[in-house]
């Protein structure tokens, strides 16, 4: 069963990665990137690496998502002002 789960997560991750890169809408990309992070968290958990999964969850997904989104907000605030 674990083989199938991992296979399907990988397929999801690849689709997500393609979508992240080809998407024209930057906020969409960031949300998809956080989804990508979530997928890798599940993978790390399945690979018996709870420490890495926890780190990826709080840092790789949480903080980096926030940093990306805030960057977009900053850029948008400048554009609106113009």
């Amino acid at each position: 069963m674990i083989g199938l789960i991992i296979l399907s997560i990988f397929i999801t991750l690849i689709i997500l990665a393609v979508l992240i890169i080809t998407n024209e809408d930057l906020p969409h990309s960031v949300i998809l990137f956080m989804g990508f992070g979530l997928g890798s968290v599940i993978l790390f958990f399945l690979f018996s690496a709870p420490d890495v999964a926890l780190t990826e969850a709080v840092i790789g997904t949480g903080i980096s998502g926030v940093v990306f989104l805030v960057t977009l907000l900053q850029i948008r605030s400048k554009e609106v002002k113009k």
């Binding site: 024209e24 420490d51 926890l54 780190t55 709080v58 903080i63 940093v67 805030v70 605030s77 002002k81």
Partner: protein, 236 residues
């Protein structure tokens, strides 16, 4: 959604082709190599209980066997936040970017904030017994502050003096623990405290101590990072 005509140019094609060829070569290489049966990891698993007395082998690798990597990593975080702060010094009028009023969030955050901080400290001090540790707990604490920034807008400001003090002292104590090891046991980061019983909260010698300092430093740094990003405003 995907505009094919616009996306594909000659450059894209060439680069994709090159990188894909490289990947196919890599895959064919990686698919048939024999993994080694013994690595430093397996040896560490065998001696971990006797030499460090922690229940979590990953923690003992991070803080003990490869403690110097962790020192470098904390340094990198420190440097990166320092770089961000340098870039933003010139901007005046630092206001919160989230212009957002929500009474529900404001009320809820008063209850949630101490709970999240408590959870963060729990994760830090149980780093040698269960998954988690300084980095994870530190970021959890920082996320509590992020929630405060979201909910309270400009009513909530950090005391930079205290933040800087926590950061400097925890980083310095991390190195000082290492130097104490050098002076007492003649090896950097070596254990100079009793190991205790495996599975107890007070066990593992200096490892919980190191993780507490790492946790304090990481929480102060990630909080500063979030604050910098949240409060950048335009140059007028």
């Amino acid at each position: 959604m995907i505009n094919i005509k616009k996306d594909i140019s000659i450059e894209t094609l060439v680069v994709s082709l090159l990188v894909s060829v490289m990947t196919i070569m890599l895959i064919s290489l990686f698919l048939n190599f024999n993994e080694v049966s013994s690595s430093i990891g397996t040896e560490i698993l065998l001696i971990n209980e006797a030499s460090t007395g922690t229940a979590n082998a990953v923690t003992s690798v991070v803080t003990y066997f490869r403690g110097f990597d962790t020192l470098g990593e904390v340094t990198i975080l420190f440097l990166s936040i320092f770089g961000i702060s340098l870039g933003l010094e010139g901007y005046k009028d630092k206001l919160n970017i989230f212009a957002y009023e929500n009474q529900l969030l404001k009320t809820a955050v008063d209850t949630l904030f101490p709970l999240i901080i408590l959870f963060g400290f729990y994760v830090i001090i149980h780093g040698h017994l269960s998954p988690g540790g300084g980095f994870q707990g530190g970021v959890i604490i920082a996320s509590a502050f992020l929630l405060m920034f979201l909910a309270k807008n400009d009513d909530f400001a950090l005391n930079h003096k205290i933040m800087g003090l926590i950061e400097a002292l925890s980083g310095a104590s991390f190195i000082l623990i290492g130097l104490l090891g050098l002076l007492i046991v003649n090896r950097f980061f070596d254990n100079f405290l009793p190991l205790g019983t495996l599975g107890n909260l007070f066990s593992g010698g200096v490892i919980p101590l190191i993780y507490i300092f790492v946790g304090l430093k990481v929480s102060a740094e990630i909080t500063a990072l979030v604050e910098y990003f949240v409060r950048i405003k335009d140059v007028e």
